[in-house]
């Protein structure tokens, strides 16, 4: 038997099983163990996660017959996912073993089941050892594994706790003995460090009969675990039943989302299905009051607000209005009402990260600014204004937070220093202090982009514009007008200060009043926001497409010609799929759909190469994932949104019961269609051919549709053909 650290990282796509409240991570070789390069070094991420708490490290099962023994990876014959779960077949010493694994939402955890059958003509006894390393800490601070655990055996399970976090391990076959750190343990209460727990079980196999054994490790917050177990019991349900429930939920969810057809680009269709399935895996409802999507796996398996805000627009296009509304409520529930220096919170600010407990902290410059536009978009897609006053109030608190960070002379939002503030606030408190000298907290948070990064200004403008619209709906015109005036002033400033004529590009930031002349893809956000005339927009897009920034596998976080470029540095040269999506969006905006579709294809090629997962980032000098979560919402959600917003060119204004549709398909395309696009209180089917759009609206009353030639009323339950105007020459 070889440990996974010795075996090294698997070249196969990792195993990722998720439920709404748990996850099981493995390498697909037979156990829940998974070595991945992380931050430059191999790291073990396998095990069980529940309620955004890492319950265990690697979880392995060994088999013994007499003196011979093996582990599941060593005797694996085949393995693969099935709807809702994963299964593997093993053969060893005349023994056939089928394993089924599934992630369970209630109680949150993972169920593993073995079906064993012997080829012997007499009864044999198989000894099975289940080993795991307890962790019991949220994946909040990377690299911390608690050193103080409390363990005891209960009549029906093994209990391990660390402060308020807890796990229970149980099996359907009682254990002959338990080992703690390799030594026999009677199960009396133990308090102290613990590397490994193992339970040993004997299963007797009668000739020709199949025997089974099922383990479950579940947990999260101790108080929630007890409530969950008192409701459903400790005994695990069969893994196939758990998987079937997940599969049924997934099927229902998928059926409620739109179907897209691109006969001229079938790879984009496949990319859509892949990204949609990836996003679904990130759905998370870790406790009764917290809903969202985790940022990614393996090490961003928490609800990060920045990532959530990037994902929610895609959910609106997929029609999951309810999940968006619940996610927004989960985040806004923790909108800071006062200065909380220890958590770096300021009045109006939204948390950077959320986990059950509730555990949350603030302290980024951009997370908060991403939400007003999502709130506004939710109102546009649903057309529901019943709670708009409350939402407008919350969004206006964000405006006030932003105004407090605004440079009076320029109207530009100032960022940086957030992490330093936490350090200062805690300076006198703790005997042991920690820190990361990260002076800035934008989306490229390991890069110093102070004081006025252009993409942060775009977010500030989107905040002001969204607030103005929401305040308008909430009949608060005075504050709405103020926001509009601030937004207009901001555009003027950006146009005056960020143009970089020598590069035909846009400066990355301003510091001490001087431009920061670095070529980063973040500047493309200002193009997509529509701040610049078409000529300038096309020039910026062309500049971004040059080889120093754009590679065959995506767009770099910094130009390779920059003196600070490092192909292995997270935000100083690595390729990010989200940056590729930014470039695609800007290309569509600038009137270059061929370039836009080309960049979307680049993203799809990564999905294909990664077996349906979507890496966070790649080295800047070769198409190799490095320091990268293997599934990140950033890498799937923007791609999904782009298909609707930019390729199809759809803008929904449900408040006015209207939709604008200006497709931007490449010239040679002959057809495209969408079925079951949720809008307001109904669904749209769209069928495009050159010069013509057929609309079928299934809703209450007519819908106004504008294809660029003026609004047109489309009656419900009828097909309406609309002639498309010729696109303007660009």
């Amino acid at each position: 038997m070889t440990s996974p650290m010795d075996r090294g990282p698997s070249s196969a796509p990792p195993l990722l099983l998720t439920s709404l409240a748990s996850a099981g991570l493995g390498d697909g070789r037979g156990d829940l163990e998974c070595v991945r390069e992380s931050r430059g070094a191999p790291t073990e991420w396998g095990g069980v996660y529940a309620q955004l708490v890492r319950l265990t490290g690697p979880w392995r099962i060994e088999l013994a017959l007499g003196d011979a023994h093996t582990d599941l990876p060593s005797c694996r014959q085949e393995a693969g996912e099935f709807p809702g779960g994963w299964t593997s077949r093993h053969r060893w010493n005349d023994l056939d073993v089928v394993q089924v694994v599934a992630a369970s939402p209630q109680p949150p955890g993972v169920v593993r089941e073995l079906f064993l059958r012997s080829g012997s003509d007499r009864e044999v006894s198989v000894v099975l050892t289940s080993r795991f390393s307890p962790y019991l800490f949220p994946v909040l601070v990377e690299g911390i594994r608690p050193v103080e655990l409390v363990a005891e055996t209960l009549p029906d399970s093994l209990s391990i706790r660390h402060l308020g976090f807890a796990l229970r391990a149980s099996s359907t076959v009682g254990s002959d003995r338990t080992l703690r750190d390799g030594r026999p343990w009677l199960g009396d209460k133990y308090h102290g460090p613990m590397d490994e727990i193992a339970t040993v079980h004997t299963v007797r196999l009668a000739p020709g009969k199949t025997a089974e054994i099922r383990w479950q490790i579940c947990g999260g917050l101790g108080r929630d675990l007890e409530a969950s177990l008192s409701e459903v019991g400790v005994r695990a349900r069969p893994a196939k039943d758990v998987a079937a429930l997940r599969a049924s939920d997934d099927l229902r969810w998928t059926a409620s989302t739109p179907e897209l057809h691109f006969p001229d680009a079938p790879e984009l269709e496949a990319g859509y299905r892949s990204a949609r399935a990836g996003l679904r895996r990130l759905y998370s409802a870790p406790d009764a009051s917290m809903v969202g999507l985790v940022a990614g796996y393996p090490w961003y398996s928490a609800i990060w607000s920045r990532d959530l805000a990037v994902m929610l627009p895609a959910l609106l296009w997929l029609g999951d209005f309810d999940w968006v509304a619940r996610s927004l409520r989960s985040v806004f529930r923790f909108q800071s009402r006062r200065n909380v220096e220890l958590l770096a919170g300021e009045p109006g600010e939204l948390p950077m990260q959320l986990a059950p407990g509730p555990i949350f902290l603030y302290g980024t410059s951009d997370s908060t600014l991403r939400f007003p536009a999502v709130v506004e978009q939710m109102h546009r897609h649903t057309g529901d204004l019943t709670a708009v006053r409350d939402w407008a109030g919350s969004v206006h608190r964000i405006v006030e937070w932003g105004v407090a960070r605004t440079d009076l002379a320029t109207g530009l939002l100032r960022h940086g220093g957030e992490a330093e503030e936490i350090g200062l606030a805690t300076a006198g408190l703790a005997r042991i202090r920690y820190g990361i000298d990260s002076p800035d907290t934008t989306i490229w948070d390991s890069a110093d982009r102070r004081e006025h990064a252009l993409d942060v200004q775009v977010l500030w403008w989107e905040t002001l514009r969204s607030a103005a619209r929401l305040l308008g709906h909430a009949t608060d015109p005075d504050r709405g007008s103020t926001c509009e005036a601030r937004a207009a002033r901001l555009i003027t400033t950006i146009r005056a200060k960020y143009l970089w004529p020598e590069q035909e590009y846009l400066y990355d930031s301003l510091r001490d009043g001087a431009p920061v002349a670095r070529v980063r893809p973040n500047a493309l956000r200002a193009v997509s926001a529509g701040f610049f005339d078409p000529g300038t927009a096309r020039g910026v897009v062309r500049r971004a497409a040059r080889a120093d920034l754009t590679t065959e596998w995506g767009v770099r976080s910094l130009s390779a010609d920059d003196p600070g470029y490092d192909p292995g540095a997270y935000h100083e040269g690595q390729v990010w799929t989200i940056a590729t999506a930014w470039a695609a969006e800007a290309a569509f905006y600038a009137g270059d759909p061929d370039a836009g579709v080309g960049l979307l294809r680049t993203i799809v090629h990564r999905y294909e190469a990664e077996g349906g997962l979507a890496n966070e980032c790649y080295r800047g000098d070769r198409p190799e994932a490095f320091n990268s979560c293997y599934l990140l919402g950033f890498s799937v959600a923007p791609f999904l949104s782009l298909l609707f917003e930019r390729l199809w060119g759809i803008y929904v204004d449900g408040v006015e019961r209207s939709v604008r549709i200006v497709p931007r398909f490449p010239d040679r395309w002959t057809s495209a269609s969408i079925r079951h696009l949720r809008v307001v209180d109904g669904y749209l089917d769209l069928s495009w051919s050159p010069g013509r759009l057929v609309v079928r609206w299934i809703g209450n009353g007519p819908l106004t549709v504008d294809v660029g030639s003026g609004p047109r009323s489309v009656p419900a339950r009828e097909e309406t053909a609309l002639e498309l105007p010729r696109p303007p020459e660009t």
Partner: protein
Amino acid sequence: MADLRVSSVLRLATEAVGLGWDFGLETLEALAWVARTVQASVYISDSLVRTDKGFRFALANPPLRIGAFSSLRVLVEGVPIPPEQVRVRLTPAGPWKVSSEFGTEHPLELQAGSGIEFDTDWPIEAKSGPVRIRLELQNIAIPPLVWMEFRETPREIPTP
């Protein structure tokens, strides 16, 4: 320092009341779990010991970040110890390495639960009271420096 500590504690108390009022007492409890774990799970309390040549101490987990580190510095009262005078090993039984050996090609690799022992040739005065030790680590994939600091009175090496 004492003034700073008192004012920090007062601010903590004030902010805690505010957080509890705004988001419920469960919030305070849960945030305390995280703070207590981070405080207790990295530096091994009382592991700072004077030795014949210098001092040694130990960590039970990496400070804040995992991964590959191309450099490691230890500072005493703000003074950096030359890297050839610092040795490091992963517990329980890794080989000792001199910190000057670390670089991009030969980084120090740390993951969750990696215990680390430090041994230095940097004498600190006997019975001098608490000493401020600072560690600085440079990750190869994420540029910003990671640091931790603790202040403790070193124990004398037990005589056999």
